[in-house]
């Protein structure tokens, strides 16, 4: 039996086999070599290929059976919603496609309740929710379905999306003719701007 001196910590990374990679402890200044494998991966993950090599989001957030959390619930809902839109995209018949879009829209209020995941997440879900309300029953075009589907898929792979990234997606929603702001907000802003000019 070995005596482990605790003037540092009882288990130092040096006790483990040298080839093994460990989460280092405060006193583990000696395990520099374990960084080398990580550095090699960085080269592969930067730039446009980054997403290809990232961890699978479902594996990152995998939970024990019966356990859940906001992120896990959001990932499930986003998958379900994106799947409905995926069906809508495949459907040539506009009535059937709209039926799937309506099912997808039902998921948005549930996602709205999970917007504490992050500011970017909240912004995108709010925008999608209002974009859907502002259609006032008008069916989405195929181009709009595509954009919303892509946005939801992006949100599913990056649920902790930054506000800057989220704004880019909101702009994309606007470019395809959707109105992601609450009705009346535009008029309020115009009033505010004209009041400031005066």
């Amino acid at each position: 039996m070995s005596d482990t001196k605790i003037t540092v910590l009882p288990i130092s990374p040096n006790n483990a086999p040298a080839s093994q990679d460990e989460t280092r402890l405060p006193a583990g200044k000696t395990a520099e070599s374990s960084l080398s494998s990580g550095s090699a991966v960085v080269g592969l993950t930067q730039g446009s290929l980054a997403i290809k090599h990232s961890i699978d989001i479902d594996r990152l957030w995998e939970t024990a059976h019966g356990e859940s959390s906001n992120v896990v619930r959001a990932l499930e809902l986003l998958k379900q919603t994106a799947d409905y839109l995926s069906e809508a995209r495949k459907n040539e018949n506009p009535i059937d496609a709209d039926r799937f879009v309506q099912r997808a829209q039902l998921g948005l209020p549930k996602l709205f309740a999970l917007r504490s995941i992050g500011d970017g997440f909240g912004l995108l879900i709010n925008s999608l929710y209002y974009a859907s309300l502002n259609l006032r029953g008008t069916p989405m075009s195929h181009a709009q379905i595509d954009v919303v589907w892509r946005t939801l898929r992006e949100l599913r792979t990056h649920p902790v999306i930054s506000v800057e990234q989220a704004v880019q997606h909101v702009e994309e929603l606007e470019r395809c003719g959707l109105e992601p702001d609450p009705a009346g907000l535009g008029e309020l802003l115009e009033d505010f701007e004209s009041a400031e000019d005066a």
Partner: protein, 246 residues
Amino acid sequence: MLYYAAQSMHNALTIDDFKTYSATCEVRYGNAYLIYDRTGRILENLRDSFTDIQVVTASPPQTTFTSDEGTFVLELGACRFTSPKIEKGGETFAKRCKTFFDTVASELNISVFTRIGLRYIARKDFKDEEAARKAVASLELTSLKPAKRFNSSDGPTEVLFRWEDSQIGAFVRIKAETTSFKLNVPLEARDIVPNTERKTPGVTIDIDYYTMAPVEREQWEAEEWLRQRYRIIKKEADGILRGGAT
């Protein structure tokens, strides 16, 4: 007969019999050269969330600092937070980690974490070394029969396991050991406080749960992830100690 009685007693070990020694969360990233400009700003920002921050060592690529809540290490390619305490659900620890890692990632412009690891170390004291060793041997974690090997102890004193795939990895080490706590008092103060040394035989369980594939910053929410992983660590550790239950 006595052997079996002792064995069944040891097999009753659960993770709740162990006392947390430390919990560490570490994130690694590609070299973040902004560390040379922004370490001070990171410390300043953290002052709002942590009590009595004190720098222990500082060099351009590595700064170690402490607070009442735990120890921080900030390096060119990694940073970590260690707390000697972690409450049952891990909520406070997870919150503190989130504050630290969010600050570091923002200030150092980190967009990809090459590795995220949560390491949990706990100990159970035993009355002597023999009892600690028997406790490890009785867990029967491998199919090796307890026997003297290599002219050394009667059974293994340490068991190590690692599970890895392309995405997630975990490492578990269970070890019988005597931990020596030593307080070295400066010569001139020894009349007031004598040097102290205490040896405690016991079993240490050391678990490291980590990602194998790179994690984009926009995939990871530290607080929720750490709470979940802590629960998984406790559950899996309990299963292993109870004899392999999942």
